[in-house]
Amino acid sequence: MTLTRRTLLASATVAAMIAGAVAPAAAQDEVTLTIANTQWLDALRGEKLWASVKKFEESHPNIKLEQHTISRNEFNDRLITEMGARQGPDIIIAQDNLFFTLIGADFLIPLDDVTEGVENLNATNDNAVVDGTRYGIGWHRAVYALIFNKSILEKTGADLPTDVDGLIAAAKAANEATGAIGFTGRHSMNEFSPWSQDFLNWAYGYGVELVDDDGNITFDTPEMAQAFEAFKEVYGSGIMPIGDQMSTQRTRFKEQQVAFSIDNSGGSLNIATGGPLPGTDLGSAALPFPNPGAHQQIFLGVNVWSSEEEQAAAKEFLSWLISEEGQLSLRAASGPDALATDVPVTEEFVTANPWATTFAEMAESSRSTLIPGYEMETQSIMRPLMNGLEKVLLNAATTEDALSEAQAEIDADYSN
């Protein structure tokens, strides 16, 4: 048979029609859900977390889970861009500041039907309810504490610090005795979003209330000035590796080159896993401030742009995740982080990681990094404050001037 153009065109049309008729039928049988989470890329922990959620497929063979991997640095930008373009992953696992931005943009669907009748959800889920509608379910709550290398501390003979002066003295002693870096923590606008969350430990630690009784944002307060001064004292004391990003600092800690750090439970688990520093050699203590610190909350939400079929499958997944089976599976990979229900860490984990108990204690009094009443704008509001702190650290402004400037800027935009 001679292949003419007409024959080819007719064959192609028939093939396309057959493919079009068959494809939807095949798709109905199986749904693939994409899940975005920066933690998938974490060394070791990422694999364990993924394995824990993949157990869902055993009881739901018609739903396949796929990772939507985006690195931590570009997670917010890419996710917002994708969802702004009416695309993106089906399930989003994101920190509270981003999560509330997504709620504000109507990018997440209500999940009240997922939690209906579920009695054992704990307080970590409370913040995901906006105006009576639930948009998220708790994934992890990561609390902060002061962590330290026990061996280094023993060699210095210093006491465990309970205030900033003690921290500086102990860190200097550790450096002199062992050559280790004294203290690590985020300190640069290069890491604006996580640094602004970390800094709230210092702010809350000195008693800062970010909003007054009338709902006005209050940056220019004596407590905030104390927090600025304390951070500057540590920054300028020579105990910090200025310029190092947190990922580098954590690697250094893992390599037993750091004496102290203020980090959250997720970061601490990273440090204590898969490196030369055994979990039993990592110590933890309350933050060296007069008041309790902060916690980061990570939520799960479902993309409004996913198809109805995908949204239904995503809800099935969330229902499974908050079931006993799902929570136990997630617990095994989550270290000491609080989950959506109160699933205690195993004895085996605590024995291998005695540092974890302090984080559980800290969780009882820690505060959210979201600004009450301004949850959706928190990230934007924190920028002038952190700009001010950077100026103070680099001696480009006094604490008084920096706070006054930040307050004026915020008043201009948000004053009631």
Binding site: N76, D77, I80, T81, M83, G84, A85, T101, G104, A105, F107, I181, S188, M189, N190, E191, F192, P241, I242, G243, D244, T248, Q379, S380, R383, N387, E390, K391, L394, A396
Partner: protein
């Protein structure tokens, strides 16, 4: 049937040039002009990143906001300084390297390869390496200054050093490209003209100034134009090394654009930043074409 007419007649040969132009034109329309027009339009709207298809026309409001914001002038100033210094030093270093490597000598091939390294390595990977080199605690750069008795330098964390460090990395990346292009240009300089100048008693400097330089000047101008436009829109080096800090001291227009779009979610205002960048680039291009036209007129005379 139309094919006999098409093939036998003279229509097809006439259409061929248009067909050749149509492909790149379609590409440019789809990927360059289309987005460009959309960006300019967006700068007159209150479009937000969360809902990029739903912006309302607000006239010149974004430009009013832009011109009343002190950070805009800081960013504009940084962009201009960064661009000028990158072009001047980058083209100078690249041209000197090309002239030095133009004549054969032992090990020239190896040296050429080594010097192309900065251009050949992917920008992000190279920048991350520089991030380590400039590390205050354990970076090689500070080890060197310390060994020289100058102490450790806060390359990326001090307002005084951050822009200089970024320019150094940029020039390290740009100069090899300039060198490569200038080496090609040097090949086209007629050897007999240089020889004639030497016979007339010109020394090496005079040969370069009066024979080589006029021959390679048009290429140098084109390369300067390219480097200038790249510098105006360069993002990854600055963002990865300093993120625009400390205290906004390295926040060029593009870095500010990213912040406005992705942290403040104001796509309309970010587009206005983009339009200013575009005008800057067009300004540089017009200067180039003006100089080029003037030279053509001189040549005609």
């Amino acid at each position: 049937m139309t094919s006999p007419l098409l093939f036998r007649g003279r229509l097809l040969p006439r259409l061929v040039p248009y067909a050749f132009v149509a492909v790149p034109l379609a590409y440019m329309t789809l990927f360059v002009f289309g987005p460009l027009i959309q960006q300019v339009w967006m700068s007159f709207t209150d479009t937000r990143l969360m809902n990029p298809t739903a912006g309302d026309y607000i006239g010149l409001e974004n430009y009013q906001d832009l011109f009343s914001d002190s950070q805009f002038y800081t960013s504009l100033n940084i962009t201009i300084v960064y661009t000028i210094l990158t072009v001047v030093i980058g083209v100078l270093v690249g041209t000197i390297s090309a002239v030095a490597l133009d004549r054969p000598f032992k090990g020239r091939a190896i040296l050429r390869t080594v010097m192309l390294f900065g251009w050949a390595v992917p920008s992000v990977a190279a920048t991350l390496v520089w991030l380590w080199i400039f590390n205050g605690q354990s970076g090689v750069a500070s080890d060197i200054t310390e060994a020289l008795g100058l102490g450790r330098v806060p390359w990326l964390t001090s307002v005084d050093w951050a822009l200089t460090s970024i320019m150094f990395v940029t020039i390290w990346q740009v100069a090899p490209f300039v060198m490569l292009v200038m080496m090609a240009a040097l090949q086209s300089v007629p050897e007999e003209v240089r020889e004639a100048a030497r016979i007339d008693g010109a020394d090496a400097l005079n040969v370069f100034r009066n024979v080589t330089l006029p021959c390679i000047m048009p290429t140098m101008q084109v390369v300067a134009l390219l480097v200038a436009v790249w510098s105006i829109r360069r993002f990854e080096v600055i963002y990865l090394l300093t993120g625009g800090g400390p205290i906004g001291s390295t926040s060029t227009l593009v870095v500010q654009l990213r912040l406005t779009a992705f942290e403040d979610f104001e796509l309309g205002l970010a587009s206005a930043y983009g339009v200013v960048g575009l005008i800057l680039a067009l300004l540089v291009a017009s200067i180039h074409f003006l100089v080029e036209r003037r030279r053509a007129l001189v040549m005609l005379k």
